[in-house]
C-alpha cells in the first residue's frame, strides 16, 4: 500500500466519495448509506440503488471498503443486510481526497477574497 497507489485512486468519483464519507464514522449497510447521504446533502445527492450497489461492488474489488463481520445488536439486525466499513487503504485514500478538496477550497477562498476586495 504505497503512496503512489493511494494517489492513483484519487480524485474519487462523486458517489464513491459520498459512500466513503458515510462509512467514515461508522459501519453501515447499503440502505443506511443511501439514507445518510440523502440527509447529509439535504436531499441533493441521491444514490440510486443499482449505482450504489454497483459502486460498492467495485470498491470492494479495489479494496477501498470491505464487508464487516461485526453485526449490530440482534434486535436491530436484519439478516439480509451486509455491513461495510473502510479498509486501511480506504481510510488513507479518503484522507488524501479530503486533503485535496481542502486545498481546492483554500485556493477558491483566496481567489474569491482577491476578487471581492
Amino acid at each position: 500500500m504505497t503512496e503512489a497507489h493511494v494517489q492513483s485512486l484519487i480524485p474519487l468519483k462523486t458517489q464513491w466519495f459520498h459512500i466513503m464519507l458515510s462509512l467514515a464514522g461508522e459501519e453501515q449497510h447499503g440502505y443506511g448509506i443511501m439514507q445518510e447521504v440523502l440527509q447529509r446533502t439535504t436531499g441533493k445527492v441521491r444514490l440510486w440503488p443499482a449505482t450504489l450497489y454497483g459502486s460498492i461492488k467495485r470498491m470492494i474489488e479495489v479494496e477501498l471498503i470491505e464487508e464487516s463481520s461485526e453485526r449490530p445488536a440482534p434486535e436491530e439486525d436484519d439478516a439480509r443486510r451486509r455491513y461495510y466499513r473502510l479498509t486501511e487503504l480506504g481510510r488513507r485514500v479518503l484522507d488524501a481526497e479530503c486533503e485535496r478538496l481542502q486545498e481546492l477550497v483554500r485556493a477558491i477562498q483566496t481567489k474569491r477574497a482577491l476578487v471581492t476586495e
Binding site: H29, G30, Y31, M34, G43, W48, P49, A50, T51, L52, Y53, G54, I56, K57, R58, R80, R81, R82
Partner: protein, 890 residues
C-alpha cells in the same frame, strides 16, 4: 400505480448477473422497495423513472464487468492447454480464411451494389443484347423506365497519353450512350460525366476515365480535365473522372474508359457499318433504371410485347413463331449480373459452401470442446458446488470459445490476405486485370470477425451446456475420468464426430468433382511442336487506319510473311485457336426442304483465315479448308452463300454419318455451304465443342473484333516466329502495334491461370475438410484414451494384449468413420446430382467428376485412411500405458 413500478424494478433487478445478485440482489431489491414510495412522493413519476433508468443503465455495465473478468480467465485456460488452443486456432483460421476468401472472390462480385451508383437495385439489363434502334424505342417507355442506356463492354482501346512516347497501350473500356451515367445516377468526381445534351454526334470526341486509371496512369493529375488523349489513333478530350471504385456496369472486369457512342467510327470501329441504325445489329447491352413503382416482371412483359411488335415490323427478319420470351430482364446493380432464375442457385451454392466449411470447422472445435469439457468435469463440479451458476460457467466456456475463434479469425484474415495476394498475381487472358474489388477490405474483415464470433458461440454452446449438466455429487466423489461416456452410442460427441466426418467427405467429394470437372486431364495434344508457335495480335483500325487502308494492309501481309525466313508457316484468324467458348451462340439448321423437322444444332462460331488448319497441323478430313477466294466473300449480303467448315462433332450432330460436304445450312439470316470437315480439337481447358468455322473476310479486316486480328505464326522457335512477324509488320508500317505477343505455351498458361484460381480454391477447400477431420478425430480419440487410462490399465493388468487394447480403442473410431463416410458419400452424390439438375453450368463440371472412379473410391478411402491413422496414433499411446501407474492414479 407504484405496484407497476415495483414489478418493473423487480424484473430488472432479477436480470442482473448471478454473482451480483448473490452478493447484493436481496439488498438492492429491498432498498428499491423501501425507496420507491418515498421517491414517488418526492419526485413523482420522473423520480420513479430515474430509479428504473438507474437499474437499466447499470445492467449492461455489470455484465461487461463480469465478462471482462472472463476474458483473462479464458486466456489463461487456453494457455494451459496449448495443444487445444493451437489446433483450435488453426482449424477456425482455415475455416474463416477460406470462407472470407470465397466471400471476397465471389460473393462480393455477385451481391455488392456497384460503387457510386444510386439505388443500384433499380437497375436492370436484358439477358441478351439488343440493337440500338430497339433501345431507342425502349427509351420512349417513360412510364416503365426512368432511363435506358446502351452499353458495349469489354472493348479494347489503343490509348496514347499526352507526353507519352512509344507504342500506345491497350486499355479496356466501354462504349456507352451519353445517358449512361444519368441512368446510373452518378456524379463526377472531377469534371463532368457524359450527357445527352453535350455529347452529340459531330461534337468533339470526349471520354470519361475511371478513378483507378486516373490514379494509376495519370498520377491523379488534377489538371487532367480538358487534356487530349489518342484513342485508337484519334483525338478525344478527357471531360471527367468517375467516382472512386466505380469500374463500369455490366462488366465483370474493370473498365477504365467510357466513350460515348456519338464518337465517329474512326475512333470506335465497333460503331462502323452504321450499327446505330441497324435494327439487326444486336451489339448493345441494355442498362435501364426502372421507373418508380415498376417491377422487373411488369417491365419485362411490357418490353417483350414491344419487341414482338418491332420484330413483326421488320421485313428482313426471319419470322419467329416461337412463344419464348424475347426479352428477359435481370438485375444489373452488381458486378456480375446473373439471370434471375440462375442467381439464387449460384448464390445458394456459395452459401452452402461457406456454411459447410464453417460448420466443419465448428464441428471440429465442438468435438474437441466436448472432450475437453469431459476432462474438466471435476473443475466444473467444484465451481458449481461452491455456488457458481450454470449460466456463469456456460458463459465462461463460451467466452473461451469466442476468444479462440477471434484468434482463429485473425489467422483466417491473414490467410485470406495471403490468398488474395496470390490471386492478384494471376493474369487473365488478354491481360485484363482481376477486378480490384476482389482484394480483402474492411467488409471482408468485418465478415471474418462476425463469422468468428458466430463460430465461437456456435461451437462452444452445446459442449458447454453438455459439460455443465453434471450431477455435482458423483462427479466430485469419483475420479475425473470415471464415467465411460464414450460407450454411449448416440452421445453428442459421437454425433458431432460422425457429422464432421460426413461433412468433410461431402466437401472433399463435391470439390473433387469440381476440380476434376474443371481440369479434365487438361493437356492439349497438338500435331506440331508447341514450342514453335507464337500468337501476335494486330489491329490497324484501332491504330488509326481507315477500313480501306486496313484491308490493303492485310492484302499485303501474307506475301510478306511468306517471304520471311523466320516464319515457316502462318495463318490469320479472328481469335486465337484453342480459345474456350460456349457452343450456344450460333444456331444452324440443315436446309433440307424434304425433312419434316429440320435438324438443328447450336455451335461455337470461330473465324479462320486461309491455312488455319495447316498451321495447326490438323488434317482436313473431308472437303477443303478456306482458300484465298473465301476471304473475298461478302458475308453481309444476304443472297450470298457463305462457305463454312465444321468440326467432326458439329458435322456429326447435323448430318449424322454423312459428312455434309456441299450441303446447305441456314443460320439467322444467311445460308452456308459446308466445304470441309476437320477433326475436333480440345480447347485450352480440355473441352471439345461443336464448332463451325467461318472464313475470315474483308469485313473482319475493316472492323477487327475487339481483340484484334490474330496472327498465328510458326518458326524454328516461338521467339523466331515472333521476331519474323515483328520485322515484317515493321517493314510495312513501323507505327502499327503488335500486342499480347505470346508463345503458345504462355497462352495456355494464361488460360489455365484462370482455372488454377478456381482449382486452388476448391482444392484448398477439399484439403481443408480432410485435414480438419483428421485433426478432430485424433483429438477426440486422444481424449477418449486419456479418459479410459484406468480402464485400459485394468484390462492390461488382467492380461489383455496390446492388439486387443488397440482394437478396443480403434473400434470406436472406425465405426464413426465408417458411418460418417457412408452418409457423406451419399450426401455428396445427391448434392452433385441436385446441382447438375438445377443448373446446367454445374452439370458440365460435375458430369466428369461424378463418373470418375479415382474420386468416387479414392476420396472415401483417403479420408477413412487418414481418419484411422489419426485414431491410431493416440490409440498406440494407450497400449503404452503402464497398468501399475494407471491404476495408482486418482
Amino acid at each position: 400505480m407504484t405496484s407497476t413500478w415495483q414489478r418493473v424494478y423487480r424484473r430488472l433487478a432479477a436480470a442482473f448477473p448471478h454473482e451480483f445478485k448473490l452478493a447484493y440482489g436481496d439488498e438492492m431489491l429491498q432498498a428499491g422497495e423501501d425507496a420507491i414510495d418515498e421517491v414517488a412522493k418526492r419526485h413523482g413519476a420522473l423520480g420513479l423513472m430515474r430509479l428504473i433508468a438507474d437499474l437499466a443503465m447499470r445492467l449492461p455495465v455489470e455484465y461487461l464487468n463480469e465478462m471482462r473478468r472472463d476474458l483473462p480467465y479464458a486466456a489463461r485456460a487456453l494457455v494451459k492447454s496449448p495443444a487445444y488452443a493451437v489446433v483450435g486456432i488453426v482449424s477456425i483460421g482455415l475455416g474463416i480464411g477460406l470462407t472470407t476468401n470465397l466471400y471476397t472472390s465471389t460473393w462480393v462480385l455477385l451481391t455488392r451494389p456497384l460503387a457510386g451508383v444510386q439505388d443500384a437495385n433499380r437497375l436492370v439489363t436484358g439477358e441478351t443484347p439488343a440493337s440500338y434502334p430497339y433501345i431507342e424505342r425502349y427509351r420512349e417507355q417513360k412510364d416503365l423506365f426512368a432511363g435506358v442506356a446502351a452499353v458495349e463492354t469489354m472493348l479494347e482501346f489503343n490509348v496514347g497519353l499526352p507526353g507519352q512516347s512509344g507504342k500506345p497501350e491497350r486499355v479496356f473500356g466501354q462504349l456507352v450512350s451519353p445517358d449512361y451515367f444519368s441512368v446510373l445516377g452518378m456524379e463526377a468526381q472531377r469534371g463532368r460525366l457524359l450527357s445527352a445534351d453535350l455529347d452529340k454526334t459531330g461534337s468533339t470526341p470526349t471520354v470519361v476515365i475511371s478513378d483507378r486509371y486516373w490514379r494509376s496512369r495519370m498520377n491523379a493529375d488534377p489538371e487532367v480535365i480538358g487534356e487530349t488523349v489518342k484513342l485508337n489513333g484519334q483525338n478525344a478530350t478527357i471531360v471527367g473522372v468517375t467516382p472512386r471504385k466505380f469500374d463500369g456496369a455490366l462488366s465483370p472486369n474493370p473498365s477504365e474508359l467510357f466513350v460515348p457512342i456519338t464518337v465517329p467510327a474512326t475512333l470506335a470501329p465497333e460503331l462502323g457499318n452504321d450499327v446505330l441504325h441497324q435494327r439487326n445489329a444486336k451489339d448493345f447491352q441494355l442498362l435501364m433504371r426502372l421507373a418508380p413503382g415498376v417491377t422487373m416482371e411488369t417491365a419485362e412483359s411490357a418490353l417483350d410485347g414491344i419487341t414482338r411488335r418491332l420484330d413483326k415490323d421488320d421485313p428482313t427478319a426471319t419470322p419467329q413463331a416461337s412463344k419464348a420470351k424475347r426479352v428477359v430482364l435481370m438485375g444489373a446493380g452488381t458486378h456480375l449480373p446473373l439471370p434471375r432464375e440462375f442467381r439464387p442457385k449460384v448464390l445458394g451454392f456459395y452459401v452452402a459452401l461457406m456454411v459447410i466449411v464453417t460448420a466443419i470447422a465448428c464441428l471440429n472445435l465442438a468435438t474437441m470442446a466436448l472432450a475437453r469439457g469431459a476432462g474438466r468435469r471435476r473443475e466444473l463440479a467444484i465451481r458449481l458446488g461452491v455456488g457458481a451458476s450454470r449460466f456463469r460457467l456456460v458463459r465462461q466456456m463460451v467466452t473461451e470459445g469466442i476468444l479462440l475463434s477471434l484468434l482463429g479469425g485473425a489467422a483466417g484474415l491473414a490467410m485470406a490476405y495471403g490468398l488474395a495476394a496470390l490471386t492478384a498475381h494471376v493474369r487473365l487472358p488478354a491481360g485484363s486485370p482481376l477486378a480490384p474489388d476482389r482484394a480483402v477490405d474492411w467488409h471482408a474483415a468485418l465478415f471474418a470477425f462476425a463469422l468468428a464470433v458466430a463460430c465461437g458461440i456456435g461451437f462452444s454452446i452445446l459442449p458447454a451446456l453438455h459439460a455443465t449438466k453434471t450431477d455435482v455429487a458423483p462427479a466430485l466423489k469419483e475420479g475425473a475420468a470415471s464415467q465411460l461416456s464414450g460407450h454411449r452410442r448416440f452421445g453428442l460427441r459421437n454425433l458431432a464426430m460422425g457429422a464432421q466426418v460426413s461433412g468433410s467427405l461431402l466437401l472433399l467429394l463435391v470439390t473433387g468433382f469440381l476440380v476434376l470437372g474443371i481440369w479434365r486431364g487438361n493437356s492439349v495434344q497438338t500435331n506440331f511442336d508447341q514450342k514453335t508457335m507464337a500468337f501476335l495480335f494486330i489491329d490497324p483500325v484501332r491504330d488509326g487506319y481507315t477500313p480501306e487502308k486496313a484491308q490493303a494492309f492485310f492484302a499485303q501481309l501474307p506475301d510478306r510473311l511468306r517471304s520471311s525466313p523466320d516464319v515457316t508457316s502462318f495463318a490469320l484468324a479472328a481469335q486465337p485457336p484453342y480459345l474456350p467458348g460456349d457452343d450456344d451462340d450460333f444456331h444452324l439448321r440443315v436446309d433440307d426442304p424434304k425433312a419434316a423437322t429440320p435438324v438443328e444444332k447450336s455451335v461455337l462460331k470461330q473465324t479462320a483465315g486461309t491455312g488455319y488448319f495447316a498451321v495447326l497441323g490438323e488434317p482436313v478430313l473431308a472437303g477443303r479448308e478456306f482458300a484465298e477466294q473465301d476471304q473475298r466473300v461478302d458475308v453481309e449480303a444476304s443472297a450470298v452463300v457463305v462457305p463454312l467448315v465444321l468440326n467432326e462433332k458439329a458435322a456429326h450432330a447435323l448430318f449424322g454419318k454423312g459428312n455434309g460436304i456441299g450441303k446447305h445450312l441456314r443460320g439467322d439470316r444467311q445460308t452456308y455451304e459446308v466445304v470441309g470437315v476437320v477433326p475436333d480439337m480440345k480447347d485450352a481447358t480440355g473441352m471439345t465443342q461443336a464448332i463451325a468455322y467461318l472464313p475470315l473476310t474483308q469485313r473482319d479486316f475493316a472492323r477487327p473484333p475487339g481483340s484484334g486480328i490474330t496472327i498465328i505464326a510458326r518458326g524454328h522457335s516461338a521467339a523466331d516466329a515472333m521476331g519474323g512477324v515483328r520485322t515484317v509488320v515493321a517493314s510495312l508500317d513501323p507505327n502499327l502495334t503488335l500486342f499480347d505477343v505470346q508463345s503458345l505455351s504462355e497462352y495456355f498458361e494464361l488460360i489455365r491461370g484462370q482455372m488454377r484460381v478456381a482449382l486452388r480454391l476448391f482444392g484448398g477447400i477439399g484439403l481443408f475438410g480432410l485435414i480438419l477431420s483428421a485433426v478432430g478425430l485424433a483429438g477426440v480419440t486422444g481424449y477418449a484414451v486419456a479418459q479410459r487410462r484406468k480402464e485400459i490399465g485394468i484390462r492390461m493388468a488382467l492380461g489383455a494384449r496390446r492388439t486387443q487394447v488397440l482394437g478396443l480403442v480403434l473400434r470406436e473410431g472406425a465405426v464413426l468413420v465408417g458411418a460418417g463416410s457412408v452418409i457423406g458419400f451419399l450426401g455428396a452424390v445427391a448434392l452433385a446430382k441436385a446441382m447438375s439438375a438445377i443448373a446446367s453450368e454445374f452439370a458440365d463440371a460435375f458430369a466428369v467428376g461424378t463418373n470418375d472412379p479415382r474420386l468416387l473410391i479414392g476420396a472415401p478411402v483417403l479420408l477413412a485412411g487418414l481418419a484411422l491413422l489419426a485414431c491410431y496414433i493416440p490409440a498406440r499411446r494407450a497400449t503404452e500405458i503402464d497398468p501399475l501407474q494407471a491404476l495408482r492414479q486418482d
